[in-house]
Symmetry: C2
Subunit: 235 residues, 2 copies
Amino acid sequence: MCELLGMECNVPDRHRLLLRWPWPRAAAAPVTTPMAGAWRSTRARRPGCSSSRAAAAASPLARFVRDHPIKTLLAVAHVRKRTRGPVSLVNTHPFVRELWGRQFVFAHNGTIKGARRLTLGRFRPVGTTDSEHAFCALLGAVAHEFDRYPASPTALAEAVAAHGARIGRGGTFNFLMADGRQLIARCSTRLHHIIRQAPFARATLADEDLAVDFAAVTTPRDSRRGGRDLAADPR
Amino acid sequence: MCELLGMECNVPDRHRLLLRWPWPRAAAAPVTTPMAGAWRSTRARRPGCSSSRAAAAASPLARFVRDHPIKTLLAVAHVRKRTRGPVSLVNTHPFVRELWGRQFVFAHNGTIKGARRLTLGRFRPVGTTDSEHAFCALLGAVAHEFDRYPASPTALAEAVAAHGARIGRGGTFNFLMADGRQLIARCSTRLHHIIRQAPFARATLADEDLAVDFAAVTTPRDSRRGGRDLAADPR
């Protein structure tokens, strides 16, 4: 099973805790790939991306990302247990395409039925996964609908939701899509989300012997929005 | 002055020597950015990319790439001394866009006159450099000309040369463009190229105390095509 993690903050965070997330489980998974797309600021239009086809726990690049956390407002991470397509860099999430002068990053969990039969627009898959086919179909449909980045972020999210429902029909289409301005999460099966804000408390990772006292590393105006990074949260 | 390096091999090479290339000069340059796009095989359609906005000599990512060289048939590297646009990841070469289901990588040396007035097609710049504007105009023109990847690689190279001449008119438009199948180098001012093939000899880097005996690390059927990586070559 793939796992996805998305995080948005109102002030840049180093993600020290969050980027520890995939590794312990990845060590046990037979085939995994780690990934982080991160934006330095909300104005940034291109993510800093690191991808590796190697098993996350053994990957020098994964270790590098963990040891050199990027300070960012928005991050997307993906650990893949291969179900479709060979293990290769070309099939490693997230997939990235430029639209309206912004880079869109997409990571998927699940399986799309009939992905090869989806109508593609201007975006073509480079690899062989159903995930990238679905992303190309989704972004192509959105590009067809809007000439430029919609003035209302809600309009983009609603279009993604509508096309996501159509594309994911009959399959499992959990995904994270981000462009540095916003992070869109679609849920077919399971989505855990949490809003961390003042007053901050102490949190402990379920998988690993690591705890962070958020009160010590934040200010009262910070707000962290994240996924299933912490299994136990005392707030 | 930016510097570009491209390399093609007939068997995958680890680029141990070539990836040492930008660092010594980068240490002296005030603002530099390193980059490597590399493909694992000619069939690969997506490069493994590493970009950093940090000065190459001080960048942990540059050190990582140097210490973990990728085994690849084709590599593009770029060190930038900023002349246009702010120093940011978004302005870091190379720029990447998908066309016909392949990722095209582009790195530029020089300055394009009137880049903002170039006609853009489906590709839009994400950053603010003249280089990315020129790349979007170039790839858009090629996309307009061919519905799919041209059956003849020469046809693609000739189209890139023709549009490159038009776009670079009056400016300096040295660039490397690669899609994993082929590496295209356009020269406005200076291009150094070398074909390394059996019988291989010993070569020494001009900038750094490093020598490689190619005869010891190759087989008679190997062939390495590279740029100005070695100032002194005894062959």
